[in-house]
Subunit: 302 residues, 4 copies
């Protein structure tokens, strides 16, 4: 193996925002505490596999794109990011499900709970989605929203009073906290490698992710990862965020449609139970394929 030049990786664009508080939601934030590695560190780790020395920046970009495109994920684990985040507990419940990360959370056993709760503005109450049982769409009308926001403010106050009244009696913090609303903020140090961070971002920047965690994820992606590892960020958008997966069945169907044979496509759909020829109803899978057809300029056969 050729000897490669060693120098601790440093990223001026990221250093310049180290410690800066990026606000998210009403009382939340994200800030970078530390990091390890950069675009070049990924290339360096990948090249140990090839027994090759350092090459040109131009080739670095190409290699990073190649690695990400082909799911060669281990070199991305060679970069680490450490954040300090401030998040409503409800949102944190989703966040913590990402297990391949290191976490130190603010302890409400040891210290008094953070006094902030996430409040909802009158215009920000989202309506239950009709189709997607776990989503939302549109907003509650203003008058109703004002009522709910007022009720919420009162509830938050009574929750704080309840908590404080328990502490005033000498109740242990670990028990006094039992009725904190999920809107209460918590804080944590969160360290994660870049491979797992990209997985987090892919799931949580997605349009199906809940609004609140999407705000955090989008900020981490666009303000932090984009500065830290710009080649990775570019490749991530091309090959992950904007990518589309076609199943074997979908590929079959598309081939028929690309061949402009709508009758054959329709027969294919009926045969697989994706389309009911009587009432024209589409299966869940058929509904999912429509968006993909549109992206390719194709149409679902009427």
């Amino acid at each position: 193996m050729k000897e490669t030049q060693i120098k601790r990786a440093s990223v001026p664009a990221l250093e310049s925002i180290l410690g800066r508080v990026f606000p998210v939601l009403d009382h939340g934030h994200v800030r970078v505490i530390d990091y390890m590695g950069d675009d070049a560190a990924i290339v360096q780790a990948a090249r140990v596999s090839y027994g090759a020395g350092t090459k040109q920046v131009h080739e670095d970009r190409g290699l990073i794109r190649y690695l990400l495109r082909n799911a060669h994920t281990t070199p991305f684990e060679m970069c680490m990011l450490k954040l300090h985040v401030r998040v409503p507990m409800d949102c944190w419940r989703q966040w913590i499900r990402h297990r391949t990360a290191s976490v130190n959370e603010y302890s409400t056993r040891y210290s008094e709970a953070i006094a902030d709760q996430q409040a909802t503005l009158p215009g920000a109450w989202r309506l239950q989605a009709a189709q997607n049982k776990q989503g939302s769409e549109g907003f509650l009308e203003a008058a109703k929203g004002r009522e709910l926001s007022a009720a919420e403010a009162g509830f938050h106050e009574s929750a704080r009073e309840l908590y404080q009244s328990r502490l005033a009696c000498g109740v242990a913090r670990e028990q006094a906290r039992k009725d904190l609303p999920l809107s209460t903020y918590t804080e944590a140090y969160w360290a994660i490698d870049l491979h797992n961070l990209l997985h987090f971002l892919q799931l949580r920047m997605d349009s199906h992710a809940q609004y609140e965690i999407r705000q955090f994820a989008t900020l981490i992606g666009e303000e932090i990862v984009a500065r830290w590892v710009p080649f990775v960020w570019e490749a991530f958008k091309d090959y992950r965020m904007n990518a589309m997966r076609l199943s074997g069945l979908e590929t079959e169907l598309m081939k028929v449609l690309i061949n402009r044979d709508d009758a054959a496509a329709k027969a294919w759909l009926v045969e697989r139970g994706w389309l009911n020829p009587q009432n024209g109803k589409k299966s869940r899978e058929a509904q999912e394929v429509e968006a993909k057809l549109e992206a390719l300029g194709l149409k679902f056969p009427a």
Copy 2:
């Protein structure tokens, strides 16, 4: 390698309680859904390392004890337990920190939140511990306790009303839930291998663990693990729960005390800053060592 007899491991004592609901706290429970492996499966996996065939039950017990005593942990990963648990969210926040487990949790995005909250009886309000900043000791007096329990009941009702009023307006479940109190119950399927389960039990059955999670952990240990893998359970108690770790420094100190040389022990303590000769104050580490001395029938030099 000798051929070993293969048969899917089955444990009648565990089969007999499969699906049984073990109640914990006021509305919580634990029940066994499935499992893989038994005491013999650990032995079998350990013996692949040795290229040895199956031996006597008596030797199985000895090998399991040897493995656990000497931190040969991988054979214990060959057993899995799958539980269905019902736990207050506050308790679940601690539970979920054990990352090497598989989890499917009840979704309050998809379904309405469970209507139960953990209520505290008048005599069950715990006081903040004086020494241990993250613990509790003793109970609040009855009259005060009755006040707090009444206030809690009212708060739980208002929390449920708030939640229902949001749903009634058509607010999305994912947002309506934002002010659920942490005392609200959740449910999950939880699968974990025996090595990681023992780690969970050691931390959560410990007297420093919070009361609520200790109830769950103790039940899992005593009612489920004890039936499932009795040799492991016995060894776990001997070598983990009742074990004591002596640091290099503590060993030094004990050697002096065992030699009945209290003056030398005192000098040792002063030299290391564990004892202030002026005021007799002990360092945190010195306080920790006292319990260990007592277990061995030794005394801290006055």
Copy 3:
């Protein structure tokens, strides 16, 4: 939540092959030792999220397909498979890189090394691939192959003699083994959850995986997983093995090609550096897209 009926999951089709030795390569094998869960267990775990009871088998299949298609991976972790495998060390070096599995390997510190080495038949020497630097294609001519196989047999014998001569001198097994060839067989118990097993199969059944590990992976998939969780296996083939990922850029290109506008497609390719208009050379990414075009019945613009 509705009460669901609890019974330990059992799969007759898998039970019928429990312990059966499936030979792989010349001296290798795979056999099932134990398992936890089945198709229904995945559905059961997924439904705890929805607070719903058990449904029809027909709907189980649909839900499993939905989960796999949409990367809802946690329910698949609720199933475990435990295998006993016998693998050449060279192959095991790739296998062990899958970190989310539990392993007990035969110890050549504790016991004498297994005497078998993987031998290569005269017609089975593969040639270095011209394009793919880490692949092979075609076979060495027979005469040369016979020479290499004879040389290999001699080398294996001298390696065994060297090892035995060290042991005969009393050299410790942990040191005597230092020159065992990578073709030496090893054995292990290997337990992995179904989610991570599918990931293993996707990578190791792939045509780019090395021949040897592909034999093991294919056998595990087709003989074991197919029997154990038939709905998952069917969905895995449709949505993973036969799936195709299109990047944002590829989708753009295909849309133009589907629109039968070869001139615009060519301009697009040149603009992005995927095609050199002077010499017609394609970039690595352009070469990768060709196979995808073909699957859809499209052609790379000449």
Copy 4:
């Protein structure tokens, strides 16, 4: 929470050796590529739990010792170390079993194998231990050692020739490598957090670890970790390396012995099957306890 001062952690003592090649064995090495965090970063992460600001260096040391002593492990995950290592494959087989690390290994599918093998000097052939089936003790006599070293040199040469002859025929690298001896060197980038690194060091610096990996582990500990996080290193030696674990049974026995009641101790030993009163034979567990007794200045009752 008080605002803490943010600055990327940097450790001059570690920076000064960044990239330096520390030789290990005959052709191996370790060198530091990058790192994240320092002693203060652990304290910082721990204090987020307590909602407390930064304190004095003196208190940092105390907190780190407290954390390590009491198995509060998460703050140690906030530090990362990235090494470039060069290791015989035989040794790497043990190394890679530590799963919670990130790895990029030199690929002998993509590139020609490294030409170096670990050679054994005539005086360095270790004898099989009599008691410990997986250990070694003492050395082979010089004359025999010279014979084995000469045979080894010949074998290494023939292994290299075999490999080169396959490549010369055009055999694919992925197959040509199948008979490389385990003594062949490999290289890797290896990134691991400090918590898991300490676990690696505890197991691999131990006197029961194999000589070869112990050389690597000891160097990483004493030359790298000691410079990087000196408070952690000091605490690690006190509370882990030099610590002693007493089981509940051992504590019972010691209490009796500390009380100078040898007859009662002997009765205790016989009752538990640790001592055979007829022939004076000790059980495996009794043998293990002897070293602990000695450390405390106690004697096994004759």
